[in-house]
Symmetry: C2
Subunit: 216 residues, 2 copies
DNA sequence: TGTATACGGTACTGAGCAGTTTCGGATATA
DNA sequence: TATATCCGAAACTGCTCAGTACCGTATACA
């Protein structure tokens, strides 16, 4: 540690909430930087992403990033963790009265775009997950779990109103569409379309719970 | 290009199959090197993998690798492409007389281990697939397609003997187990177990084709 | 037996990148 | 107004790694 290390450092230890001299940190930039990180992550993956790319995308200086996050890994962790589950509130899920209606109503174009973007981000960090349990946990909470939860909710509701029998395997069936879309995007490199999701609903999910899809 | 560049190079252009002077290349080492590459790939991912690691694992010199493959990318491509589909021959698939029997019989411990390894490899190259269509194609042929084909085969046979109705969505249902196992390994970071696969067969696949799993 | 090439091993080179420092300017407290 | 910290920008440092060169040795053909 040389005296030069103190240029941008705190002169002496102090409490986090104590008033500090000088210009205040502009925390409105945090969102821009995290958003830029997610974009680069989706486009190039974790290893292809450089901190310079993120800084340039956010029109920020690299030092600004390092004042807020101690490393690239922490920045990415924070970016993934801040990917909020948009419709995690069950009351905002569709309630059409039938399971098929609910499942179809959950396929909206923005939802589709959002899912594809999250899967691109996932593709960019998959190889990191085994090295970083924190990142795996963050991705789990932000990307993986919300979709399964929404599916479980509409299945549970269909069960409670007697539309489907009580012995269906809700936990597994709730993951079918998510798993198949992930597989299609990550492995088969094909786009997610509304038609594909409908074919999963009518060809797999509804038959699996004992319902017939409507006449062709 | 300096004269020094010619040390290990061919003095003049010649046909590939023309007889060459000097010690012959030991092509029995190819398999060792490719196997080492797959091991490192599964353990560390494409970007974490270094050519030195592969050479050391195969007890080979780095120059030996570069005599055979022009770059790291080509080595990995070849390694993935040489992952042969072991049971791509339909006649070696089980034929128990029932769909459930066939599906259960296809879960053997070596198959499970093999699948998990291939998925680890897949995790290591997922972020490369969008940059390298050749690698995506190789992974498709070596890892993705064989499993779906085996499932399609036993489903088609069940259909032909009248065990399941003719209107089932074979193409989608054939991918259910593969997609869900991939999802479980890559995203949920949970191991693949025999019990999990049986729960998918009994909880999703058989109900989806209109069959009842046996009494609990 | 001489020459050309392969082998494993090691050292080197050049590029790319994480993280640090510096700079001129802006903004906050005292 | 003096000082401390922020900002974007750019230069710098140190390390890692793909790819190359070279060594001593082994093997194949002429």
């Amino acid at each position: 540690m040389t005296p030069l290390d103190l240029v941008d450092a705190v002169p002496k230890p102090r409490e986090d909430d104590a008033p500090r001299l000088g210009r205040k940190r502009d925390h409105t930039r945090d969102a821009d930087i995290l958003e830029a990180a997610l974009e680069v992550l989706a486009e190039t993956g974790y290893d292809g992403m450089t901190v310079d790319m993120v800084a340039a995308r956010a029109r920020a200086g690299k030092a600004t990033l390092y004042r807020r996050w101690p490393s690239k890994a922490e920045l990415v962790l924070d970016a993934v963790a801040c990917l909020k589950a948009p419709d995690s509130d069950p009351s905002r899920l569709p309630d059409t009265g039938t399971l098929r209606g609910d499942l179809i109503a959950m396929i909206r174009t923005p939802t589709l775009k959002d899912a594809e973007r999250k899967l691109q981000i996932m593709a960019g960090i998959v190889s990191m997950l085994s090295k970083s349990p924190e990142l795996a946990e963050a991705a789990q909470q932000a990307i993986v779990e919300p979709r399964a939860r929404a599916n479980r909710f509409v299945l549970q509701r269909a069960l409670e109103r007697g539309e489907i029998p009580a012995d269906v395997d809700i936990d597994n069936i709730a993951m079918v569409s998510t798993a198949m879309v992930s597989y299609r995007v990550l492995m088969l490199r094909k786009p997610t379309t509304r038609e594909y999701l409908i074919s999963i609903i009518d060809g797999v999910i509804l038959p699996a719970v004992g319902l017939k899809p409507p006449r062709l």
